[in-house]
Symmetry: C2
Subunit: 192 residues, 2 copies
């Protein structure tokens, strides 16, 4: 019941006969995969936040001018969003773990997961976009409005920002996958 | 069957007995609400794109300097993303309409909707974030890196950008709601 299930789609359309009553189980689920993905979400969020926060760099051009994530509202939003998603990741990892032990909670939990995953996805994707948009300006600048690029000077800072945004995009993709497997698991429990 | 259903959650946990076989129907669904939301997604995407694209403004300071959305990669990404989501909105509005007429397609369609909604949500939320981050820089500038604000000069341009991003955020929220009602509808078909 807690198996990783048959990845082939067709198998899910033949639920165990007679399992339609009781705990609402039957049908495939991917809770072990779910567990791994949720832990990945937590890890990705943690890495994104740590890499972003540790990117401080001071350049002497000619006066000392530091670059810090908190100088940009976009990066502050990014850190806040991925702190939330990291916390969410670790909490739902535990929830997923408990569901593997108590299978009769699973269907209800899957619905809760989709609800929250969709909300967190909206937050993380927009945060990755916001930080990515500003990071791209740092990398390329914009001649039309005289915003000069800064990544030729603040190289370490920009490497941190870029890596952090990449990990953030990865975290958002993990959330999309989580929604997909939860939806598929619930769908497999609907009698045909 | 195509009714808007009882909005109270508890009612969904008592599906019609004996409906567990056959077409997979039974349980609540919100296809009329779904239809309206999908049309709203289309309308919001259309408005976001049109408002963004029509924001061109030329200021003479002292030479003529135009501001156009295509000067910023962030705004180009925004227009591309919301063109896709507008197209997706109108296609799924038609799919939702056909599901109201042919109820036996519904459960499968709900799963497809969640899959695609999650993907499009990732795209639109990140696009709204990207454009929003750059628009905020235009509004406030960033003294730390000498990026001066431009919205005191390009007022009409910035009004268009700001409105467009706001409508884009609204469209992303509609997508979250769509995932929620689809997930809830599928869940209500799982026998308890």
């Amino acid at each position: 019941m807690a198996s990783s299930g048959d990845p082939e789609y067709k198998s899910s359309s033949t639920p165990v006969p007679g399992s339609g009553t009781g705990t609402g189980s039957g049908g495939v689920d991917y809770f072990k995969f779910d567990l791994i993905l949720r832990f990945l979400l937590f890890a990705a969020s943690l890495v994104a936040v740590v890499v972003m926060v540790t990117g401080n760099q001071t350049e002497y051009i000619p006066l000392p001018r530091p670059a810090k994530f908190r100088y940009s509202p976009a990066f502050v939003y990014f850190v806040a969003a991925f702190s939330v998603s990291g916390l969410y990741g670790i909490i739902t990892t535990l929830a997923s773990l408990s569901a593997i032990r108590k299978p009769n909670l699973k269907t209800k939990l899957l619905l809760q997961f989709i609800f929250w995953d969709a909300l967190i996805l909206g937050i993380t994707a927009s945060a990755a976009g916001t930080a990515g948009g500003v990071a791209y300006l740092g990398l390329k600048g914009n001649n039309h409005v005289d915003w000069h690029k800064i990544c030729n000077i603040y190289d370490k800072f920009c490497r941190h920002i870029g890596s952090s945004v990449a990990v953030g995009v990865f975290g958002s993709i993990v959330l999309v996958l989580l929604i997909w497997i939860s939806a598929h698991s619930i769908h497999s429990r609907v009698p045909k």
